[in-house]
């Protein structure tokens, strides 16, 4: 039996789909009151629990050999830092402890490229250290701290590996990931604001596959970066335009304008409850070093990311099927 925490999320539901396709028996951990549309209709066992509730984790891990730990909170706004710390760090601590109690044979922890230090010149690989004091944002700090807990547990006997996906995009994005929401905006809105910048994006299905490979072939206590391809925001927009065969009207803002506007975004969010795109965190990310190498995962695991053209095409077609006509 395989347990997947955070199974209803974007990577989670795609991972569950891949595992089910491979004929595995999967148990999905979902929060009480969580929308389970993304995993509806799949032949899996669903168990309600919370990574902050150790008892529920013990129940979830009964008879489990493999755990994929994905449950986490992501926010590009500073006001969710407490919740992020609770779920991402304390939640991981609970999962590790429960896995040890249950005698789990292998645990795959989902960190993030953001867990790695941003103060790195040159190609980012697995030599970059986790930085629990990162200044970029709370998400980075929690993901780094959680990863250090996993490495410590691996040293003490738990057979764990860590994967670090970069910017995830792809189909089956029911919850509305940051990137999915951005592309949705491009499809729906009459006018969009962009900034120049670039980042590394990876197909969610490749991440899921990479996680399964890491589980099967990864070495204990090792970190594997699951990256895709570096692409500029404007190139990404061009790829989306190619799929829909229409131009997306957009104004490219100078970075200083966007950064000035970003100062007011936490307030904007408090008032409108609409999720902002431009925050200090997201803008810094677009400007940060995004030359990432997945050479280790390719050599050791046989990981191979697909090209972004097919990713974007599948993503856009999936979104159109789920949000309807492109409004223009």
């Amino acid at each position: 039996m395989i347990l997947v925490t955070g199974a209803a999320g974007h990577i989670g539901n795609v991972l569950v789909r891949e595992l089910v396709d491979k004929g595995k028996k999967v148990r999905a951990l979902i929060l009480p009151g969580e929308d389970t549309t993304s995993i509806y209709g799949l032949d899996i066992e669903i168990i309600v629990g919370d990574v902050l509730d150790p008892d529920s984790l013990d129940r979830a891990m009964r008879g489990v050999e493999i755990v994929y730990h994905l449950a986490g909170v992501i926010s590009i706004l500073p006001d969710k830092n407490d919740l992020m710390w609770q779920v991402n760090v304390e939640g991981t601590r609970n999962v590790l402890a429960a896995a040890k109690r249950a005698g789990v044979k292998r645990l795959v922890h989902t960190a993030s490229i953001h867990a790695l230090s941003r103060n790195w010149i040159g190609m980012i690989n697995e030599d970059v250290p986790f930085d629990p004091n990162a200044t970029a944002g709370g998400y980075d700090r929690t993901k780094a701290a959680a990863s250090l807990l996993v490495l410590e547990a691996a040293k003490k006997g738990l057979d764990a590996v860590i994967v670090c996906p970069t910017g995830v995009i792809g189909p089956h994005d029911y919850g509305g990931s940051e990137m999915g929401e951005l592309i949705k905006d491009w499809l729906k809105k009459k006018l969009n604001f962009l900034v120049r910048g670039a980042y590394d994006f990876v197909d969610v299905r490749d991440v899921a596959n990479g996680m399964i490979l890491a589980c099967e072939r990864g070495r204990r206590g090792e970190v594997y970066i699951l990256s895709g391809w570096q692409i500029k925001v404007l190139e990404l927009k061009q790829l989306v335009q190619n799929v829909i065969g229409k131009r997306i009207a957009a104004i490219t803002l100078p970075m200083w304008v966007a950064k000035f506007g970003a100062k007011f975004m936490p307030l904007f969010y408090k008032i409108t409850r609409r999720r902002p795109r431009f925050t200090d965190y997201s803008l810094n990310t677009l400007q940060s070093n995004s030359k990432v190498s997945s050479a280790k995962a390719q050599n050791e695991l046989g990981y191979q990311p697909r090209d972004l053209k097919s990713t974007v095409s599948d993503t856009v077609n999936w979104l159109i099927r789920h949000i309807g006509k492109v409004h223009r």
Binding site: P32, G33, E34, D35, T36, T37, Y40, G41, D43, R321, H322, I323, G324, K325
Partner: protein
């Protein structure tokens, strides 16, 4: 997958919202389809908080492409659906010659075309599987084409005929097709009708029953499928009204519409 699922159109308010809550509570996975996403999300939050499960599919059923999209998205997830409730619809009360043409066309599109289309999309899969239940939300107005509801009564009469024909076509296949002929039900239906252009208050509003009674009737219908169900039951008498008193009502003319109570 032991659980059953149901798709409810027009789930954002009124009977559709009440049925969504009810079926989720009865263990169904409910697919909520309507135009207003925020309201669907609110209903979803309520259902999830009570331990039910449901999925939200915002869509404008006025549009053919949207209906196909809902079908593809839902079958992509669930494979097939067990219960289809064609509930989306709206009313309007007033002189037909004062009814804006756009409104009349939209009424036909939502009350008739969307029902036909969703049925034609989902029925083949149900027949293949040999099970399924299509429930159309009709009205006693379908048998009482009275003053003020020319198009509405026509659209509901269509549902009566459509349901009866399909019920007979599907006989022995395991698929059930039903129409619930409702009397007035206390929902925002009447506010909607009142606030549309040239619309009057619907006089029948004062006899409205609660959505709970409709839910109870729905549950009876799901357990004991039949072609026609009147809610409340005594409205079965209404089918004789037209036959017995049609000639008298003819003589009343537009009397009922004279009192323009806004």
């Amino acid at each position: 997958m032991p659980e059953k699922n149901a798709l409810i159109s027009g789930a954002s308010a009124g009977i559709g919202a009440a049925m969504s809550h009810f079926l989720a509570q009865k263990g169904f996975h409910v697919f909520l389809v309507a135009r207003r996403e925020e309201r669907l999300r609110k209903i979803q939050t309520d259902i999830l908080a009570k331990g039910g499960t449901c999925s939200v599919f915002p869509a404008d059923l006025n549009r053919e492409s949207e209906r196909e999209r809902v079908f593809n998205a839902v079958t992509g997830l669930a494979g097939d659906i067990d219960v289809l409730v064609n509930n989306a619809g709206f009313g309007w009360y007033g002189f037909y010659h004062q009814m804006p043409w756009q409104l009349a066309r939209e009424m036909v599109s939502i009350n008739i075309t969307a029902v036909m289309h969703l049925t034609s999309l989902f029925l083949p899969g149900m027949l293949e599987r040999g099970s399924g239940h299509i429930i159309n939300i009709g009205s006693i107005a379908g048998g009482l084409p009275n003053q003020g509801i020319a198009v509405y009564a026509g659209s509901k009469a269509f549902l009566d005929a459509f349901t009866t024909a399909l019920y007979r076509e599907c006989h022995g296949s395991g698929v059930k097709v039903s129409v619930m002929r409702l009397g007035p039900v206390r929902t925002e239906f009447f506010d909607q009708a009142r606030t549309k252009e040239n619309g009057y208050s619907v006089p029948a509003e004062r006899f409205a029953i609660s959505t709970e009674r409709v839910n109870r009737a729905l549950w009876r219908l799901l357990r004991h499928p039949r072609r026609v169900m009147y809610v409340p039951g005594w409205l079965a008498l209404s089918k004789y009204l037209e036959i017995l008193f049609g000639a008298v009502i003819d003589q009343l003319g537009p009397l009922l519409l004279k009192r323009k109570a806004k």
